[in-house]
Symmetry: C2
Subunit: 201 residues, 2 copies
DNA sequence: CCGTGTATTGACCAGTCGGACAATGAATGA
DNA sequence: TCATTCATTGTCCGACTGGTCAATACACGG
């Protein structure tokens, strides 16, 4: 006995939301058509009705993951800092702080990253997200490195290093929180970044 | 018709080797009892005969992965460098170079990393490997930071940062090699590390 | 030469997965 | 009011999974 109608576009979002919740608890592997349907209180047939292939569903789920966890907004407070090195350090700290709350989303991001190693479409989208992430840092890096042009550090590389500091933090903190002193790490990373400015050496 | 006997302890290694080859090509998901058995030219029943549970097999496979890819040997050339900052930079560069060749093993390592997020036993072993990796850097970091004790950077944090630079490099380079300038990154990372010494500031 | 233990096989099982599909219900327009 | 459209359901299917197990062939000690 087919149930009531709710043919709004909401259905897709509802399903993706259910998938997201499932993924948070059980990982991408746990995102099965039936598990998602159960979480959304639908028949699993309906899920494949909206997303013809399961891959499409996990693609849509990737959108959700990227939207909620891989976006970088430079807060007003940070943007207002005049001195470029300090601004870079502050941005770094802001991101590290953000990482500390709700690590579950980040876990999903890394799971997708691992998936991307084998699947081209996912790899491209994650790569693009990383590139956008780097771009935000690159802007500051250019400004910072402008005076000390004699240096062998390019803005692009500096941005990549910043991203490394952030993702490396997440990676290490996730895998053994016990042996990882997050406070000390943040101090060190920030101080390292800010130390770039004074002497181009 | 049960085949010939070869009851040596070699069988286990042979199976793990087959599993490793399968994993390199198809990822950990592809490591199925039957796939491994086929690769090793055995019946899948024999695989479960040696490794009672599949988990034991993927545990043994993790050993293999860690042994071949997560070990850090400080080469003689590097160890002989007297000046600590330069030594740290050289070690960093050595590891980054090593990452460039044969990324397949590293991919597996990161796949296990993602797996570790959900599975406790794997998480602990990866965490331990990571800690050993950090320890190698910590030794140099202590020596490096000794004179400039006024600094807010602890040896532990510096080691963690070094690991971040390495894993972050792998992360970004593997996912989109096109937009990632490996050469510039290596220059920047090394120069950043070596810049730690001169002025404790 | 013959049992005994064990390495090895293949068949089998229950479970789960993604996907196809006919049947059914509800809304909608004529 | 009735036919049409389409969202929704449950069922069914084939493939594959991890795991069990009886049957078998081999090596070896007596």
């Amino acid at each position: 006995m087919p149930g009531p109608k709710a043919p709004e576009e909401t259905r897709r979002e509802q399903i993706v939301t259910a998938a997201y919740e499932v993924a948070l608890r059980t990982g991408i592997d746990g995102v099965t058509l039936r598990a998602v349907a159960a979480k959304a209180k639908l028949s699993h047939g309906l899920v494949v009705f909206y997303f013809k292939k399961k891959d499409h569903l996990i693609g849509a789920l990737l959108d959700r993951v990227l939207a909620t966890t891989a976006m970088l907004h430079v807060s007003k407070d940070v943007a207002r800092i005049p001195h470029a090195p300090e601004r870079l350090g502050a941005l770094l700290r802001q991101e590290l702080d953000r990482l500390s709350l709700d690590p579950r989303g980040r876990r999903l991001f890394f799971e997708y990253w691992a998936l991307g190693v084998r699947r081209v479409l996912i790899r491209r989208r994650i790569g693009a997200a990383l590139e956008r992430y780097r771009a935000a840092f690159r802007a500051i890096a250019e400004e910072l490195l402008a005076p000390a042009n004699g240096t062998d550090v390019t803005p692009d590389a500096l941005a990549a290093v910043a991203v490394s500091l952030i993702s490396g933090y997440a990676l290490q903190a996730m895998i053994d929180p016990d042996n990882f002193d997050t406070g000390a790490y943040r101090m060190a990373a920030q101080s390292l970044m800010e130390r770039l400015a004074p002497t181009p050496a």
